[in-house]
Subunit: 179 residues, 2 copies
Amino acid sequence: MSVHLLQTATSVLLKDPTASLSDVARAAGVGRTTLHNRFPTRAALVRAVASDALDLIYSVARQVDFDADGALEDLVTRLVALGPRVEFLLRFPGLERDEELAARIREMDRPVLDLITRLQGTTLRRDLPAWWILQTLYAGLFNAWEAISDGRLAPLDAPRFVLTTVFEGVAGAGATDRA
Amino acid sequence: MSVHLLQTATSVLLKDPTASLSDVARAAGVGRTTLHNRFPTRAALVRAVASDALDLIYSVARQVDFDADGALEDLVTRLVALGPRVEFLLRFPGLERDEELAARIREMDRPVLDLITRLQGTTLRRDLPAWWILQTLYAGLFNAWEAISDGRLAPLDAPRFVLTTVFEGVAGAGATDRA
DNA sequence: ACCGTTGTGAACATGAGTGTTCACCTGCTG
DNA sequence: CAGCAGGTGAACACTCATGTTCACAACGGT
């Protein structure tokens, strides 16, 4: 129940960051008083949503063997399934002003950055900074989630779209020679 | 002056969509009363910012020869220079609820979508929908602007980063054979 | 020097979101 | 059945963004 509440809150707040607590409560099918009982203030609710997203991401990341071949692909595929949770973490306005949350987010990025840096010795371009590649990964995820929630993209197509686009780009096979 | 006001409003509102009008006025170095004189309501201000962004984009798009080789590259390079304006149009919450603005945004996308569709006969992948490629382009622009405003990316490096990443992907040259 | 324009701060009324309390109802357990 | 925990709506006070009005200062043109 409480889990579903946070999930609903994630969607509602992501669609409209100014949504009132009444809106969140109504969307979750719960009274506003109950919402206040669980999360005394708006800030507490936002923190709980973010914290829950972090927990989910960590639980997913723990299932990935960062040393295996295709670790990045595995990670991306799993993150796509997490839907809006990562987007909330990286896009919700003002979240970065909570220093504790910001630290946990940076900590979440670190192993991925390390992995990217390592792969830049083999399968990843060396002429781009690791942080740029990480941001590109996130951007691909956002694209997919946005398209899915708009009903334009089938969830099962999403991982392939993201991986193809991020790794190989949108240029045709023999057209990598741009000006 | 008024131009600079809208530019400031774009940045402030983009950084924090809940920023008060006092914040916007102060950031623009102008009285709150003056702001209200120019834009009677908050909605009017937001509409003005969006409309101004659309005007800028159109004026940029008009300089691009959509039939020339490298039209997409040219367009992307010019859009990068527009900074946060496009981001505001595509990301500001609730903007899509103004039907007139939404229509103008769709109209802005159309020629680009046509161009992409045409290029899918030659230099662009045919196994991805045109709208997905368009979203990928926008995502690359967002990445660049975010990195620039964080001070991580030199503005002059931005076009190259975006074009390289979007068109060729982040995979190393000989590593396009993923699982 | 006069006047219209424009920007400004101060003050005010209003409305909405927020946080709190309280009385009531429901379902479960002993 | 009694008691309790949890959920709920109603009502309240409070804060704050908002929109409005007004009087005043700065400026440029006549």
